[in-house]
Amino acid sequence: MTLVALFAAACGGVRAAESTVVATYGAQTLRFTHVESSPGGLAIGVSDPAFADLLRATGAVMTWKPGERYVLITTAVPVVVSFAVGDRRYDVGPVALQASFAPYQSGSDVYLPFDEVLRSLNLALRRDATGTVLQPQLASIDVQTFGDRVALVAHAGAPLRPRVLTDTPVAITYEFDGVGTTLVGTRPINGGGVRNIQITQSGTARDPKTLVTVSLLPGAQHDAPRSNDDRDVVLGFSGSGAPPGPVAVATPVPAMQATYIPPDPNAPPGQQPAAAAPSGPALVTGVMAQPSQTGTSVTIAVTGNATYTWHRLRDPDNRFWVDIAGAQLSGPPIDQTQPDPLISIRVRQVDPNTVRVAISLAGQKQLDVSPSATGLSIDVGRDEVADALREGSGSIGSTVSANDNAAPVTPAPLGGDQTGDSTWKFGPSGSGSTYVPRNPRLIVIDPGHGGSDVGAARAGLTEAGLTLDMSKRLRDILIARGWQVRMTRDTDVDVYQPNDTAHEELQARDDIANNAGARLLISIHVNSFINSGPYGTTTYIAKPGDVALAKVLRQHLSSDLGTKDDGIIKSHLYVVLHALMPAALIETAFLSNPSDLSMLESSAWRQKVAQAIADGIDDYTREYPAATQGGQ
């Protein structure tokens, strides 16, 4: 009996009868009917209709199906809150917490600890004489220190609209209407002009107010409150008072991953002389990545004598690898993701005598390889370089030497797998690199979208209209230069048929180019995003044979248009992937960015786009004659 009770407690505790909770949330009255009392508090059934209403009202999304153990709630922040049946642990993004009781199964429903669910939504149940209220909470204030500046970032479960209640040289008080808090108290800061912050709550359960009083050091200054989104507010301060001292009032902000690969503690880089190395093959004992002033420094610890060769590929495939010959890896293979300017590091024993360290770079980064008696140091800068060295070699150990070659000798991996960690995808229509056009004088121009699909739209402009305009201008230039041109559309129509599927529409465009045996396919588009931040011109490719074309086009676009050069991006774009011939999709500018929009509105600028693409086509076809086009 005792054992049964123990198991019952471990599996979620003893439950009482169901009850109903009626609570108001803003103007809504929510009647929660799947509520049970547990020893640890109230439990809410995930199938409760009012619970679904609450999630919807807060902008949260739940992922759960009957029979599944996990209940995942994505909040509006967004952060994923993960509950598991039978486990008191729940995760709020990267933070693992303990709930007052474990979620449990009851019939086909899963019951969650209600308080913890509400807390993750930055809400709390509050009662007053008139009933129960779901009160938005000022859930946290993060203190972020930047030199002599401090930012207090307040997060809440409702839009925050602070107002300055009092403002004196020694203190400033902000009032947050409509939110309560459990953060009441005083926290020392002593930095960025801020002595401390005091948090108090007033008002009622239905009309709460949270007051944040910031005590200032002499000479402190403060900015007007600003918001990244409606649910947080940044209060900025600066001053020359006491030394900054960050104090975390709450901890919900997930940190960026700061991973590193620890070296073998028995052989720290730089501390074990080569003379102490054992005879026989050298050992690669550790690989460590650390932030440096200029970017990231990767240290490869090697004991013993070895030679190395390194290579890097050409942009946009920014992979680097170094092979250490006559060496063995002393530990297991390593796979690590890394922050900018790296993407990842992989370490492998690629053959019995060679250890390979492969680094994916976040761009064509400055990179220096330096051998020493105890290994290799690879300094990766944050800056991009135009003409990076492509290969080098040298020796490590008792004889240290380096020979880096300036000549770009390493070709882009057209279908090859030179680092052993990935290959280019060849689309079902072929690579484009061995394509022989039936009509080498024919260029197919594809104005993106059209007809029932306007594409992006902003300020009275549509992507379909803009791409058609630029395509016609390009057509006219190319024809004047002696090219044959076919447009996938030359009016505002669907290429396949109105309201067709994306597949039919995109394949129809490829069919025109493929069936005609065209030399090139150029698809012209206009980019867009949900905010005005991104801007610039991007050339998208999908297969190896597109690379050379894209590089030449990019060269002209970046120098002629006056937009930001967003480079070449390889992606899985249908229209490029299924073109038999070298193809590129050019996102000329962002309709969603005011600066780019003003250019798109200019017919002179659209003419420049056409001119730049035409010049690129001419250069490419001169450099890569039809018989060998697609080469590097």
Partner: protein, 173 residues
Amino acid sequence: MRTSRLVVLILLLAVVAAGTWFFLSRRGGGDTGNLTVYYTKIDGTTLGTLSVSLRPPEAGESAAEHQHNVALYAAVEAVAGPPSDVQAIRFPSGTRVGNVTVSGSTVTVDLAGNVAAQPGGSFGENGEFKGLVYTLTGLPGIDAVAITIGGKTVPSLPGGHLELDEPLKRTDW
């Protein structure tokens, strides 16, 4: 005879005690590792990461169930993306993970909700799916991600650019 019964009883009790200890110790938590969630930065191409911890397999949870649960978690995290104060390319607000299935080395992610409410342009789509694919192919034994929308295979999103009717791999980027 009586002694042998006692020995059997002690052995049985020992087995029960060991089983109970094993069961309860596995319930207690402790990480089996971290899940790396990738997102595409606002430059449209480079990846950022955030790390969330993974639960250990629960008692009675088979390896296949655990793999499915981890894949589901990974997909939901990837679709959610980083907190809003991190500049990132995100799936449209209201995009949901309807279901996840694992078959061999391929995860099929069924997306629902507002996933089709794309802003237009290749920028968003490219970044959204790149982060999702990198996240899921970071799981042990997974090298491809098939996408369905509302339970159906689609060649691409309406008015979209990316081909979605065959599994996506890291090498597609």
